[in-house]
Subunit: 128 residues, 2 copies
């Protein structure tokens, strides 16, 4: 996935949150700081969500364990729910919490459309 | 103030928060989104602070009303305390909430070292 495509997906999702009474924003370019920072951070005064975003052309993707670990650590420290948001081409967004992800035989975390449909939430379910 | 100097001040402040058990991050470049986004957003699971940062060479500065208005709106929607962080050269950081700022005769908001010493907080007071 190109960087610009990832940014587009993040901006799309951020706009969806704003339209649904959440405020929030995108992290500054990850190159500019050694500190962990999930792609999006949104809140509505009751809930706070830290979200790592991925845009997929295929129906499954391995996730970097280090990135997921950082998402969890950041969320715990900040006081937010950790979420992974996956945008499947021509299908849309699904959201899942890190502990619901499946592991491959080699221990890698896998996000597949099948898993997301079973254990994930749509955007409307997420913000309910 | 140059943009890079502003970024340096933001990074310095962000590091101070991380060292004191807050997580948080800097907003992506304001040019990339039409949505309001304060410079920093930090939290520790109990408190959430949205901070507009300024670095001053002089002892007083006029603040853009529109920026302060956006800070307040963002904070209310997200669920954070709105703060303005001012870094005075060779003196350090002071923090003030928008409603404590003084107005000039023409209605502009003014942040001066005098006002900040009287009505503002130091970093250690802020995070107490």
């Amino acid at each position: 996935m190109s960087k610009s495509k990832g940014s587009r997906a993040e901006r799309e999702l951020l706009a969806m949150f704003w339209e649904n009474n959440f405020a929030g924003y995108r992290a500054a370019g990850s190159g500019s700081t050694p500190l962990p920072s999930p792609d999006l951070l949104v809140g509505n005064g009751k809930r706070y969500l830290a979200i790592e975003c991925k845009s997929l052309k295929t129906k499954a993707k391995y996730l970097e364990q280090e990135q997921i670990k950082e998402l969890i650590e950041f969320s715990k420290k900040f006081g937010a729910e950790p979420w992974i948001g996956l945008r499947f081409n021509n299908i849309g967004w699904y959201f899942i919490q890190p502990n619901k992800l499946k592991k491959s035989k080699k221990g890698s975390l896998v996000a597949s459309l099948k898993t997301l449909k079973e254990n994930g939430l749509t955007f409307n379910e997420l913000i309910k």
